[in-house]
């Protein structure tokens, strides 16, 4: 049976390829998203002191190290059985939100906006960040500024933009000073203005993408995200809830203690990325989505005024939950707005300057789980230690793994709609990549693997012979 391969997939965080299986009529029959890199952090941890985990785990990713730092520290908190001082927890939340903003800004402005602004069929030579800044320099400046905003907060709090070590088991290592608080607060109005402009632009241009909205991983699935007693948008504290495609609660109050009763991980022979699924439904029927779209579908309220206004409008897109993965982009903008507003609220709390920001303890449990909402979705770190405090087992459940089944299904949906193997066109293939980009998968969790890489798509006949090739880069 003829097979198409897209390798590598571009403008995502990491290395991957897509294969499209076609029949003799050139119609796509099957599609697979393969992650072609291996990292091995779960094994690297074996035998290391548990207190080293946050610093080590932050190295998983150059884009979202703060998320790993937080999940890891929360797992260590659990091992130590400590209660984090209130201010320490608030400061952690601020850094987590800054991380959310800078990561979403990267995804929306740098990686996906070339498709949105220049069009899916634009020349790939210009369909990139440089093309964006030539076509719409104001938007490019906004993207740069917003990412600077998030990175600056991380650097101000943690001392460095990438791999900050400020978040530690028990809290944070240093309290916030008045000068630093005021420095961050001074940047917030501009960030809100940028997000207001960006949301207006996106909403004004939605109509251009009706076909993509209809075909980009638009199907019923469950959704999973963190929530709390108030039903607020929550990325740090709370428990996990799973809802169905109409918003009905499937499972609730999932915590570090029982997550393995609900979440299973399947190993695939053709990819280094595991597929996570809702265990009671089995594999692969237990498909669900995480990340911005899931979080907005889940929450009753954002909990901040401007984000709540946008959330109300977002909710009008569909009758129940929003199922179109194209709207991940929209959800990212709303989440960034929430993040900026919430940071302002936290920073304006007088208690934020308290010096009591860290608790100390020896290990009191042999096991600990930390759960946070990373920009791309629910992130779980689960460690076991021996009597010397050395790691005997580490299990990491990463957001992109939760979305893997949906990404694969989305690739198939898009490929069936757009790709006709008898006549390959660049725009077809870009749409196949773009559905992956909508999920903003983080595959490399490292700093050196993204961008406009060469792309080759090969059409092979039933005998394996090369029938057609399309190359980029």
């Amino acid at each position: 049976m003829p097979k198409l391969t897209i390798e590598p997939v571009t403008r995502i965080e990491g290395h991957a390829k897509i294969t499209l299986q076609t029949n003799d009529r050139g119609e796509v029959q099957d599609a697979r998203f393969h992650v072609t890199q291996v990292r091995g952090f779960e094994k690297i941890c074996d035998g290391r002191p548990f207190a080293e985990m946050p610093a080590l785990m932050a190295r998983i990713c150059g884009i979202c190290p703060t998320s790993h730092l937080l999940a890891s520290s929360k797992a260590c908190d659990s091992i130590m059985a400590v209660r984090i001082p209130e201010t320490g927890e608030k400061l952690r939340r601020i850094m987590n939100l800054a991380q959310l903003v800078q990561s979403h800004a990267l995804s929306f402005f740098h990686l996906s906006s070339p498709d949105l602004l220049l069009g899916m069929d634009a020349d790939p030579a210009t369909r990139n960040i440089l093309g964006l800044l030539q076509r719409n320099p104001a938007m490019a400046r906004d993207g740069i500024r917003l990412r600077q905003f998030g990175q600056h907060i991380i650097e101000t709090l943690g001392g460095r933009r990438i791999h900050p070590g400020w978040i530690v088991p028990g809290g944070v290592s240093e309290p916030l000073t008045v000068a630093r608080r005021d420095e961050i607060l001074a940047t917030i109005p501009e960030a809100i203005q940028i997000l207001h402009r960006s949301l207006q632009w996106f909403k004004a241009n939605i109509e251009k993408f009706r076909t993509e909205i209809r075909t980009f991983a638009n199907f019923p699935t469950m959704f999973m995200a963190m929530t709390n007693d108030e039903g607020e948008f929550s990325v740090y504290n709370g428990w996990i809830r799973i809802i169905d495609s109409t918003g009905g609660i499937v499972a609730d109050h999932i915590t570090g203690e029982n997550y393995q009763d609900y979440i299973g991980e399947s190993v695939n022979s053709d990819s280094y990325l595991k597929s996570t699924y809702y265990k009671p439904a089995g594999y692969p029927d237990g498909i669900y989505r995480v990340g911005p779209l899931a979080r907005l579908n889940m929450c009753r309220t954002a909990g901040t005024p401007l984000a709540d206004e946008e959330l109300a409008e977002f909710r009008e897109l569909e009758r129940h939950t929003v199922l179109a993965s194209f709207y991940y982009h929209y959800a990212r903008l709303i989440e960034m707005l929430f993040g900026v507003e919430r940071m302002q609220q936290l920073l304006e709390d007088p208690n934020i300057l308290s010096k009591h920001v860290r608790a100390f303890a020896e290990p009191n449990n042999f096991e600990g789980v930390g759960i946070v909402e990373a920009p791309r979705g629910t992130l779980i770190h689960h460690y076991k230690i021996d009597e010397h405090g050395l790691i005997t087992s580490a299990n990491l459940v990463i957001a992109t793994g939760h979305n893997n089944l949906a990404i694969n299904k989305g690739v198939l949906q898009v490929a069936r709609h757009f790709v006709h193997a008898n006549k390959l066109e660049e725009g077809m293939l870009n749409r196949v990549e773009a559905v992956v980009r909508a999920f903003d998968p983080c595959l490399s969790c490292s700093t050196h693997a993204a961008g406009q890489m060469p792309l080759a798509i090969e059409l092979r006949g039933p005998d394996g012979g090369l029938l057609d090739t399309l190359r980029r880069g």
């Binding site: 403008r11 990267l106 740069i144």
Partner: protein
């Protein structure tokens, strides 16, 4: 913003790939107290376009995978519009100059100094040839930038 901006980039855990960062640290000491600013980063990214646009002169320092180990190449850069990777370590300094011009209206005079590496495996030490060349680059840039900064 400082008149001179020096950007060293690379991975300090990949032996010679970290030479740009180490060179910047040495230059920071040599040019302490002057109107120069120094940036160490693992990769070039678009956020650098703004500070680049605000400088009068920019120096990029990087390791190169081409050439005889320790070989030093100085290249005057012009803004250039070509496809780029927004995150990759391979992002081109000339494209950042183009971005500085397009977005902020100024592409300053710029120089790229590269040192050909020998080992890019895991490690925090430079190989002998590269370490020697780095000293040469630091000395030359100290002299060049010192003279430039001394002028009004």
């Amino acid at each position: 913003m400082a008149r001179v901006l020096v950007i060293g980039y690379g991975n300090p855990l990949r032996s010679d790939d970290g030479v740009g960062l180490l060179a910047v640290r040495a230059l920071r000491e040599q040019l302490a107290g002057t109107d120069a600013e120094f940036v160490e980063c693992q990769q070039l990214n678009m956020e650098l376009a703004q500070p680049i646009s605000e400088a009068e002169f920019v120096v990029f320092i990087d390791a190169s995978t081409h050439g005889v180990p320790g070989e030093i190449v100085y290249e005057h850069l012009k803004p250039e519009a070509k496809p780029i990777a927004s995150l990759s370590h391979g992002a081109d300094p000339a494209v950042l100059l183009q971005a500085a011009h397009e977005l902020y209206g100024n592409a300053p005079e710029a120089l790229l100094a590269t040192i050909a590496g020998e080992c890019f495996g895991y490690g925090t030490e430079l190989t002998k040839h590269v370490a020697r060349s780095m000293k040469g680059v630091v000395n030359r840039l100290t002299e060049m930038l010192g003279a430039r900064l001394a002028c009004n």
